[in-house]
């Protein structure tokens, strides 16, 4: 029984959610990893160092650049006969590609698993994490996306897998990459950050999100937001933490001016330590917070920034 994990990477190496997907796959048996795109030498070398990976497949083809779903699914379909399980992280890339592969294999995908019970049985959240369903698949092959926050990622170094270039057949030409507009930030990615500080509707406008910056800088934290803040247009959607945004589980999550709607809690309640700052002491966020501070955020945030600077 061998699993294949589709990896995402950037110049810094294999992305953390993908390393969590490798961790989930190691619970199932031997693990092979796939890197696809162009100029893959660095990514292949980084993948080969992941502990637990036995072999790295390298699919170098211009059609696979940017991992568009149509060609990437065609590639995975071609590789599928050798594998019992195909996995990827529950990211925009994983969610886009894996269900497409599953349909082509006549398999019902198992989305966003939070635990592996056995080779056929997995635990996954439903209803925004208000229920944890244990599901058993009757399909011959399993197509799985992995909730990164639920699996400690494998280390970036320590392994020594073999690297094998694979032939890529004809790719469907249904889609074409035009451009990417990625937020430039010196801060860590939301899903990989050790500390996250998020603002909600209480921030009142987009400008006020700047109040979070000195604190995020002092702590090396990523900045997030509730859906309410995104809906109100304060910040772009990629900041969104919650059922319909990103799922995070940092060591410290600081919720500022966030009431704590179910949809938001679904995205952060597995954080190790939760801090809530809200002027409404009845806000539901306090029911999940380890430390609650009832205060006006416009007073508390500058104080917090100053306090952190002092120490």
């Amino acid at each position: 029984m061998t699993s294949l994990v589709l990896l995402e990477f950037d110049a810094a190496g294999i992305k953390q959610p993908s390393r969590s997907a490798v961790a989930a796959a190691t619970a199932l048996g031997e693990v092979h990893a796939l890197v696809a795109g162009v100029d893959l030498a660095g990514a292949a070398a980084a993948a080969a160092k992941l502990p637990g990976v036995a072999k790295v497949l390298v699919a170098d083809n211009a059609a696979l650049d940017h991992l568009l779903a149509e060609p990437a699914a065609a590639l995975l379909l071609a590789l599928a006969p050798s594998y019992s399980h195909i996995l990827a992280a529950t990211t925009a890339v994983g969610k886009n590609i894996l269900p497409r592969v599953a349909a082509l294999l006549d398999v019902q995908p198992i989305s966003d698993i939070a635990a592996v019970v056995d080779a056929d049985t997995f635990v996954r959240p439903i209803y925004a994490g208000n229920g944890m369903a244990t599901v058993k698949s009757s399909d011959g092959k399993k197509i799985i996306t992995v909730r990164a926050a639920s699996f400690d990622p494998v280390a970036a170094e320590g392994g020594s897998a073999s690297i094998e270039a694979i032939a890529v057949g004809d790719m469907p030409g249904l889609s074409k990459f035009i451009s990417a507009e990625l937020s430039k930030s010196e801060r860590p990615e939301l899903t990989a950050a050790r500390i996250v500080i998020s603002g909600g509707r209480g921030m009142q406008n987009g400008d006020n999100f700047k109040l979070l910056d000195p604190i995020a800088d002092a702590l090396g934290a990523a900045v997030g937001a509730s859906r309410a803040a995104v809906d109100a247009g304060f910040v772009p959607n990629e900041f969104q933490v919650g059922q319909t945004g990103k799922i995070v589980a940092p060591e410290l999550y600081i919720a500022v001016g966030i009431s704590g709607a179910i949809q938001h809690l679904a995205g952060m309640k597995d954080s190790k330590v939760i801090v809530a700052i809200n002027k409404d002491e009845e806000a539901p966020i306090f029911q999940v917070a380890d430390y609650g501070l009832v205060a006006d955020l416009f007073v508390a945030l500058p104080e917090l920034a100053a306090e952190l600077e002092r120490s």
């Binding site: 568009l68 149509e70 699914a73 990211t91 925009a92 890339v93 969610k95 886009n96 894996l98 269900p99 497409r100 599953a102 349909a103 006549d106 398999v107 019902q108 995908p109 989305s111 966003d112 959240p125 439903i126 209803y127 925004a128 208000n130 229920g131 944890m132 369903a133 244990t134 599901v135 058993k136 469907p172 249904l174 889609s175 074409k176 990459f177 035009i178 990417a180 507009e181 990625l182 937020s183 899903t191 859906r227 995104v230 809906d231 959607n237 990629e238 059922q243 319909t244 410290l252 309640k269 190790k272 939760i274 306090f286 029911q287 430390y291 609650g292 501070l293 917090l304 306090e307 120490s311």
Partner: protein, 249 residues
């Protein structure tokens, strides 16, 4: 161009759902049901494309129990032209839904299918991608903007680090993200008009699809509960606790 819009009947997003005490699933008896919010965005987008003259007809489709007809009526009141109900009591999963939608698309020959990026009940986020695969079409998932130009469509997608823009050959399947649009409320006259719009009724067998689930739910547990912690009196106390007690900064 004809547009199909699949709409799912789900527990209303404002309902605080509870796990059944026997662990067999989520309590849905007597709970308010509504159209999946992302599917509302899909209906709205289709209606806007019709208003722009891109779409000529909008067909709303729902699969599931008889009451899914109400969800179709909601779409008709928003501006869809007719409905198709595939009635079944089976526990439908995305693979079976995608197969049935494919069978309908084979007959209806739409130029585009727009649906929500995920349903807020099973949170699978799979049906649109699977439907595109079965049809052999392109897919524009998590769309926050789309523009149709002849035989191609430009879709801006919400991805992890920001936005990605792709050009897709039509026909195509689009799944909607939050910022694509803000769905309208149906006006009373339109709700009245929707009552007269036709809804065709069929069964999974009419589409040649076995709706049996491939995933069996063994049990549903309550998520681990967090205990409410303590209130701190000041920012200084908070920082001190985070340092000495929680040891996270």
């Amino acid at each position: 161009m004809k547009i199909l819009v699949p709409v799912k009947r789900v527990v209303d997003y404002n309902v605080k759902v509870r796990v059944k005490t026997d662990g067999s699933g989520i309590e849905t008896a007597g709970v308010k049901m509504s159209m999946n919010p992302f599917d509302e965005i899909a209906v709205e987008e289709a209606v806007r494309l019709k208003e722009k003259g891109v779409a000529t007809e909008i067909v709303a489709i729902s699969l599931g129990v008889a009451q899914c007809a109400e969800t179709i009526r909601t779409a008709l009141a928003m501006g869809a032209d007719r409905g198709i109900l595939v009635e079944t009591d089976a526990d439908l999963q995305p693979l079976a839904v995608a197969k049935m939608l494919k069978a309908i698309a084979d007959t209806e020959q739409p130029g585009m299918i727009i649906l929500g990026k995920q349903a807020i009940d099973d949170d699978m986020s799979a049906t649109g991608q699977m439907l595109a695969a079965l049809l052999g079409w392109s897919q524009g998932t998590f769309a926050s903007k789309l523009e149709v130009d002849g035989g191609t469509m430009t879709v801006t997608r919400e991805v992890d680090g920001g936005l990605e823009t792709v050009a897709l050959t039509l026909p195509s399947v689009v799944t909607t993200d939050l910022r694509l649009n803000e769905p309208r409320y149906a006006s009373l006259p339109n709700i009245m008009k929707a009552r007269k719009k036709p809804i065709a009724n069929m069964k999974p067998a009419d589409l040649g699809v076995d709706p049996a689930p491939r995933l069996v739910t063994i049990k549903v547990d309550e998520p681990a509960k967090r205990q409410a912690g303590k209130k701190v009196g000041s920012v200084a106390e908070l920082v001190s606790k985070l340092k000495t007690e929680a040891k996270v900064i």
